[in-house]
């Protein structure tokens, strides 16, 4: 059984990538993920704000109160600080690279052209095999039009591509007016992979505290739909390879993903819910299914039910939607 696949130029032993999550934030659990069969790891995301925030925070609090009062010209010893949060991340990559045999993809989350771009270069130096760029931006300013937002994304990607040589993927969101067009622009710019899709954190309201709050948002197999749709639509239309990151919980979800045209999938919520060993379960079930159905390789099924190949292309398009609604009415 050949489970091999290629994603953003990286050769993977199977299509399962452990997506960015707290499980990919510790060396121990990353090792367990590899043991369970993960073909690649996306490290937990480091946010643009995190990189700058810690600098700002330390600078601020070491400065605050200093040189204000004769008896206390400062409140902290003047030490060399080396382990800034972002540097931790770099060290982690360097350490993991020694211990792991599977590719390691760093994950950067940001949108401005700040100092964090430079950080992408450091990730490469530290040994990351690839870089996943998450550039979800929530435009709260009503004066900001869609074109401006799109350009923001394009500029961020361009700057990162100018900085690194390792393959870069873009973790997109599904909220563009024309996702396919954005996907193509990312791909044409040089993104080697597209990850479909980013799930923004849930927003909720705490009725006791009367505050808005953000909560963790586990996906389920039911959330696979959008990713399937757009993978199927984009299959064979782009240079960039495709990866489904939302709604992959079971071997069945994985199969659907591959058939819609994905080159790989990322599992995150299911691992957080069931532990690292869940990868082994999915792989076992996948192999069993493929054996039963007499598939010999993953390549064989890739894109087999995409817009390009499906017997029912309308299933991914508006006409079909109309039909479902119509049927429902009758």
């Amino acid at each position: 059984m050949n489970l091999n696949t290629s994603y953003m130029g990286l050769e993977l032993k199977n299509p399962i990538i452990a997506g960015a999550s707290p499980l990919t934030a510790s060396t121990d659990s990353i090792k367990r993920l590899e043991e369970a069969g993960a073909a690649a790891i996306v490290l937990h995301s480091i946010f643009e704000e995190q990189i700058n925030h810690e600098s700002h925070e330390i600078d601020h609090f070491l400065f605050k109160g200093s040189d204000s009062y004769a008896e206390a010209v400062g409140y902290f010893p003047d030490m060399e600080l080396s382990n800034l949060e972002s540097e931790h991340y770099l060290e982690e990559i360097a350490t993991l690279k020694k211990d792991l045999s599977i590719p390691l993809i760093a994950s950067l989350n940001g949108v401005s052209k700040g100092g964090w771009i430079e950080y992408a270069g450091k990730l490469q130096e530290a040994g990351a095999d690839g870089l996943e760029l998450n550039i979800t931006y929530i435009p709260t300013d009503p004066d900001m039009d869609g074109r401006t937002v799109e350009q923001l994304y394009i500029d961020a990607l361009q700057t990162v591509l100018d900085t690194v040589d390792i393959p870069v993927s873009v973790k997109m969101n599904a909220y563009f007016s024309a996702p396919a067009n954005m996907a193509r622009r990312f791909s044409e710019l040089g993104a080697k992979g597209l990850v479909l899709f980013d799930r923004p954190v849930h927003v909720d309201i705490d009725l006791e505290e009367l505050t808005a709050e953000q909560t963790i948002n586990y996906s389920s197999s039911a959330d696979l739909s959008e990713s399937l749709r757009w993978t199927a639509i984009l299959y064979k239309k782009l240079e960039a390879s495709l990866c489904i990151s939302t709604g992959i919980h079971t071997h069945e979800d994985l199969l659907k993903g591959m058939m819609s045209g994905a080159d790989a999938v990322q599992i995150t919520s299911a691992l957080l819910q069931h532990g690292e060993g869940h990868i082994a379960t999915v792989l076992d079930n996948l192999v069993a299914w493929m054996e039963e159905k007499e598939y010999v390789s993953i390549e064989q099924m890739k894109g087999s039910i995409s817009l390009h190949h499906t017997v029912n292309p309308a299933a991914y398009q508006r006409a079909n939607y109309m039909r479902i609604l119509t049927e429902y009415r009758y």
Partner: protein, 1209 residues
């Protein structure tokens, strides 16, 4: 070898040498010497080695007494050992200093010389401390400048090893210890050449060792002790020669030559001044200047003061000398003169007597100068020379003050300046929080390190920890700068906060034609009319070049927030001409890269952007020919103040305290209470504004306010008739209050520091706009006028009847008048809410002993003080003795008060018939258990005093003076953890064991906050603090548990942010308990490293993490057969990390040593769990004990009942 220059301060100059030439360093913080210890700790934490190739061991001790003991021990076991100290700290070392010297042990103590606490504490510089140890046997070597401090640190080390005489190397506190100056550094090779390894070996071979056993430190009898003391004479006889030889050797190695006594001036001088320390540098500059003008004058700088070599001194004097003035920077009350004067008189007289004086015996006069860093200027030097010219010069004079009582002072010409034209002199006025001082230190380094110019910076801070003004005095010039005095005629004046122009006469510092830079929100077109008329007049009269910049808008635009340091620094370089503009900007950028590079690119880029945006916003103002408008300066004081405040306090506030005459100063250190109310500091940019519609009247904002600037009252409707238009009130909620009573909440907008703690704790949210609460921060300035009126009206409203309030309820306790207000504590201070609470509950009968530290500074630092009286003239009586003795000091209060009470009761008993038996009995029998009872007792005592007024006889007279002691007095000892856990622990422990009715409040910030955050035994595991630069590995001491062990001590651990109800309850119980009580109060602090508006949240986090257990142990309950132990928290609810990593003090460890950080977390986690188990077990144990007692009582009762029943049957 090429010369290496660095621009550093005196403390660093010394620490660099001391760390390189020692193996063990025992330390303890005390201003102004602490930085030497901090730097040594930092060097060792970074792994820096000494010249012998090892990293010196740094050990923080519990006091200077402890430090000197350890130094003594380490020396006796052969390690090269040093310590740093000042002032009272040095006095604590005296016992060991005698021992160290008596045993001929080489060492150097480096002392940043400071005033001693006498009528008041002072942190500033003079020689009172070092003069107090001149008899110990230590050699005393004086440095007068940063360069000398660096050089003499090495010379003294070398000379000590050779002579075996221990050295005290001293330099003037602040003036030298904190002056930043460009100096030539001693390289390691030179150090190695100066320190003879053979002598180090010899020292080691004299060590106590079981391999070479002997006994040292015997007890001697009359037969040999005397002779023993005389055995060392020969060592002291040769000491001056040894020091001179070492100086010579040093001169050959470095090119910098010193002598035991250095003469400067005309070779044929007839008048000579003798002095030591930094004043000698000023005198040097003045002597050269006036000698060049033909005056026959000169000065002698004393370097080696002990052993005093008369021979070398005489050799230094010109043969032409006719009169000598000896200046001492100390005061020896009741003596025949100050120490240096006496030494000189003796030396010359003795030589004169033996005909060995190579010239006619000169006339010698002595004088005092410069106490507590009082300015000493060339004009004063000139006045002393002029005095020497008189036929009958004044002896035992003072210079620098105006003594209109005993007329000791000499007058001087305050307008005289000898500053040279080639020196750029800049004076900068900034706010503590705006980075002015930091930027100026940076500018000095840029010029000092990057050009051939010499550079000097000295910084003056004000008395408050919040909204404090800083003044930077900077000199740059092509020649060595000796001017160790403040700049009075600057050619560059910068005012970084325009509000200062309205408060202080800033332009008095500007010389004619100087440049004046102002940070102002007003453009160059309109700024003129916004200036006070006096300022406009000075700009015109002095022909100043006037520049403006809106630095805040540039800083905001470039992401710098309210830090305008880089912007103002760029302006300085752009218009001062000290460097070519392009070069200057390049240098600033280089230094920014160096300073901020480690903190990330973003910070560097932000600063670059600030520089790049500055010049286009910097404008020269066309100065009009006339003054526009008549805008006045702000008055220094406001309100209904007395003459003392008008004549004295106001002067201090205006910065004109130097002009006050001796007759105007209280003779015994007694100052009036409650003067902060007259100093309207207006430091807040934003203040809270009350929204009565949202308020739930919980008073949480009132209880947490560190400055008592937000208060509530419940008043009768009738009192509100004349309320100002914008004075809000609402119907009072709660069963305590009547139908027609109203609640109002008011903010003292001019006294508020804008910390926003109140807004953060407010639990009430606006239902329509949940981002708003019942109080919200708004801009201060528009509120000033109405705020002032409202506050005035509010303060005149009556306070609620204390006897009707339940003081044990947090909410109701806040209707009690605070008798501690508007202190100079940091904005958002975590200590003062507890202090204020105590003043509300017990203020009218409190006596407070306050340990030195933050609480003694915000509690008692001039110009204005926060402890005040109520309308009846009653209030806390407060005093600070020292740091180490506070518990003993307070215990003394208790003993005296108890004695007064006992005498009063005895007198009353014997006068029972005369005053009326009923009145006497009711007074004698009153238990005064609670507030209403105390109130009644006060009424009774008033009646008694009325009767006594007309009674005759000695007993009645005595009782009249003691009658007030029949009303219960509440004795408190307050202080920080540095006092309670470390330096004062012995006394505190003894006080706890005394069984006396005292109350101890420990304001536990887990560091020595006042001196800048040094580790104490209260410091949490895993926290970075000064002296624990790599993070504290040990567990904090559990002072509470230790106190419980006495069983008869009331003990509470409280945290207002976690549980204010428990806090208030603990205060009431502790005070009510008739025995020793200790409350250990978690206090958040600027040294924890987070925004203090979240202080109360963090207090709660500390409790939730289990690192600050809340409990009360009340022995009174045990006496009543109940469980005395009440654990008031639910154990660790969150992981320690969720508390610790919210604060820079813990987070920093991760950035310094990630491996250790992990271990610390684990230790803290285990500690939290262990403490909870321990306290719960204790609670369970006492519960069982209580049950046992109940059972026993039950059994007794049953037996009694059975007995009765049996008898009946």
């Amino acid at each position: 070898m090429s010369k290496k220059f660095e621009t550093i301060d005196g403390n660093e100059a010394v620490a660099r040498v001391a760390h390189k030439t020692n193996e063990v360093i025992a330390i303890y913080p005390i201003t102004p010497s602490s930085p030497m210890a901090e730097l040594s700790d930092t060097y060792s934490s970074k792994g820096e080695k000494n010249i012998f190739g090892s990293i010196p061991d740094i050990m923080e001790m519990q006091s200077e007494g402890g430090a000197s003991g350890s130094v003594h021990g380490a020396l006796q076991t052969g390690a090269l050992t040093t310590t740093f100290t000042a002032s009272q700290g040095l006095l604590l070392m005296i016992p060991n200093m005698y021992k160290i010297a008596g045993e001929l042990t080489p060492t150097v103590f480096h002392v940043a010389a400071r005033s001693l606490a006498a009528q008041a504490l002072s942190i500033f510089g003079d020689h009172s401390d070092v003069m107090s140890v001149r008899q110990t046997g230590f050699a005393l070597l004086a440095s007068g400048s940063v360069q000398e401090a660096h050089d003499f640190a090495l010379i003294s080390q070398a000379a000590s090893l050779r002579s075996r005489i221990p050295f005290l190397h001293f330099f003037d506190g602040f003036r030298t210890s904190h002056e930043v100056s460009k100096i030539e550094m001693i390289d390691e090779e030179t150090m190695k050449s100066m320190i003879d390894e053979e002598l180090v070996t010899a020292h080691r071979e004299r060590a106590l060792s079981p391999d070479n056993p002997f006994i040292r430190g015997t007890s001697q009898n009359p037969d040999v002790y005397f002779q023993g003391r005389e055995t060392v004479n020969s060592y002291y006889d040769v000491l001056p020669d040894i020091v001179e030889e070492e100086m010579q050797k040093f001169g050959e190695l470095t090119g910098r030559h010193y002598r035991l006594f250095d003469y400067i001036g005309a070779p044929d001088a007839d008048r000579v001044i003798v002095l030591m320390g930094s004043g000698a540098e000023t005198a040097h500059e003045a002597a050269e200047y006036f000698a060049e003008q033909g005056e026959k004058i000169g000065i002698v700088k004393v370097r080696l003061y002990r052993s005093f070599s008369a021979k070398h001194f005489i050799e230094s004097l010109p043969k032409s000398v006719e009169s000598i003035a000896v200046l001492d920077r100390t005061k020896e009350v009741g003596g025949t003169g100050e120490p240096l004067y006496l030494d000189i008189v003796t030396a010359l007289s003795e030589m004169n007597e033996t005909d060995t004086l190579p010239f006619e015996m000169p006339r010698i006069i002595g004088g005092r100068y410069g106490l507590s860093s009082k300015e000493f200027t060339p004009a004063m030097v000139k006045a002393v020379f002029d005095e020497l010219s008189k036929a009958s010069p004044k002896n035992h004079f003072t210079i620098g003050i105006h003594d209109d009582v005993t007329h000791t002072s000499l007058e001087w010409d305050e307008t005289l300046s000898i500053e040279k034209d080639d020196v750029l002199r800049g004076v900068f006025f900034g706010l503590g929080s705006d980075g002015t001082v930091g930027a100026n230190k940076n500018s000095i380094k840029i010029i000092g390190n990057g050009t051939d110019n010499y550079a000097q910076g000295y910084f003056v801070y004000d008395s408050n920890k919040s909204g404090s003004m800083t003044t930077s005095h900077l000199r740059f010039g092509p020649n060595l700068i000796r001017s160790s005095y403040l700049i009075s005629d600057a050619n560059f004046v910068a005012c970084h906060q325009s509000v200062f122009l309205e408060k202080f006469d800033i332009l008095k510092y500007a010389s004619k034609g100087a440049t004046f830079l102002l940070n102002t929100p007003f453009s160059r077109e309109i700024v003129w009319s916004r200036l006070p008329a006096k300022v406009q007049r000075e700009i015109i009269d002095k022909s100043l070049k006037f520049y403006v910049i809106d630095a805040y808008s540039v800083a905001k635009k470039t992401g710098m927030g309210r830090r305008i340091n880089t912007v103002m620094q760029t302006c300085f370089f752009a218009i001062s001409g000290v460097l070519e503009r392009e070069l200057a900007i390049e240098k600033i950028k280089e230094s920014i890269e160096k300073t901020y590079g480690k903190k990330g690119r973003k910070i560097v880029e932000m600063n670059y952007a600030a520089i790049d945006n500055t010049l286009e916003h910097l404008h020269e103002v066309d100065v009009p020919e006339s003054v526009i408008g008549d805008r006045p300066l702000q008055p220094a004081v406001k309100g209904n103040y007395d003459d003392f405040v008008a004549q004295i306090t106001a002067k201090l506030i205006e910065g004109e305290g130097d002009d006050l005459k001796v007759s105007q100063i209280p003779v015994d250190g007694t100052w009036p209470s409650g003067t902060t109310q007259y100093q309207k500091r207006n430091t807040a940019i934003e203040v809270p504004l009350w929204d009565p519609d949202v308020c739930i009247q919980c008073n949480k904002c009132v209880i947490v306010c560190p400055h008592a600037a937000i208060r509530s009252k419940v008043i009768d409707e009738s009192a509100l008739e004349k309320a100002p238009e914008n004075f809000h009130f609402i119907k009072a909620k709660g069963k305590t209050f009547e139908e027609d009573e109203h609640f109002t909440l008011q903010v003292a907008v001019e006294d508020c520091t804008g910390c926003a703690l109140c807004v953060e704790v407010c639990p009430a949210k606006n239902k329509s706009q949940t981002n708003l609460k019942a109080i919200n921060m708004v801009e201060q300035e528009p509120l000033r006028e109405t705020g002032e009126k409202n506050w005035e009206f509010f303060m005149e409203l009556p306070n609620y009847d204390r006897s009707k309030l339940d003081h044990a309820k947090a909410k109701e306790s806040q209707f009690l008048e605070p008798l501690f207000e508007f202190s100079g504590a940091c904005p958002g201070c975590g200590e003062t809410p507890y202090v204020k609470l105590a003043s509300q509950l017990f203020g009218d009968r409190m006596v407070i002993a306050n340990a030195t530290g933050c609480s003694s500074i915000y509690g008692g630092n001039l110009p204005t003080t926060p402890w005040k009286k109520n309308a009846d003239g009653l209030g806390p009586a407060w005093s600070n003795s020292l740091f180490e003795d506070n518990a003993e000091f307070g215990l003394g209060f208790r003993l005296a008060i108890d004695k007064h009470t006992e005498n009063a009761r005895n007198l009353l008993s014997s006068l029972k018939e005369e005053v009326g038996v009923e009145l006497a009995q009711s007074i004698l029998n009153s238990e005064q258990h609670d507030e209403p009872e105390i109130f009644e007792q006060r009424e009774r005592v008033a009646a008694l005093k009325e009767k006594l007024a007309s009674m005759k006889g000695n007993e009645a007279k005595r009782l009249r003076s003691l009658a007030n002691y029949l009303v219960k007095k509440s004795v408190w000892m307050m202080g920080g953890d540095g006092w309670a856990y470390d330096i004062g622990y012995g006394g505190l422990d003894h006080t706890l064991a005394s069984g006396k009715n005292v109350n101890i409040l420990v304001l536990d910030t887990q560091v020595y906050s006042n001196t800048g955050g040094q580790e104490s035994k209260a410091t949490f595991t895993g926290a970075v603090a000064k002296f624990a630069a790599g993070g504290k590995a040990q567990l904090p001491k559990d002072l509470a548990l230790m106190a419980i062990a006495y069983e008869n001590v009331y003990v509470a651990r409280v945290s207002m942010g976690a549980n204010d109800a428990q806090t208030v309850k603990a205060f009431i119980e502790a005070e009510r308990y008739d025995g020793p009580s200790i409350i250990i109060a978690y206090s958040h602090c600027v040294a924890h490293g987070y925004d203090l508006k979240y202080g109360m949240d963090h207090q709660k986090l500390a409790v939730d993490a289990g690192l600050w257990p809340l409990f009360r142990y009340n022995p009174q309950l045990a006496l009543e057969g109940k469980n005395p132990m009440s654990v008031d928290y639910k154990g660790p609810k969150i992981d320690v990390k969720n508390f610790m990593y919210q604060e820079t003090r813990f987070k920093m460890v991760e950035k310094i040593n990630a491996g250790a950080a992990k271990e610390y977390l684990e230790t803290a986690r285990t500690h939290a769990a262990t403490m909870f188990d321990r306290y719960k077990n204790l609670e369970a144990y006492y519960e069982k004990e209580a049950e046992k007692i109940a059972e026993q009582e039950e059994a007794v009762m049953q037996a009694e009942t059975a007995e009765k029943t049996g008898a009946q049957s």
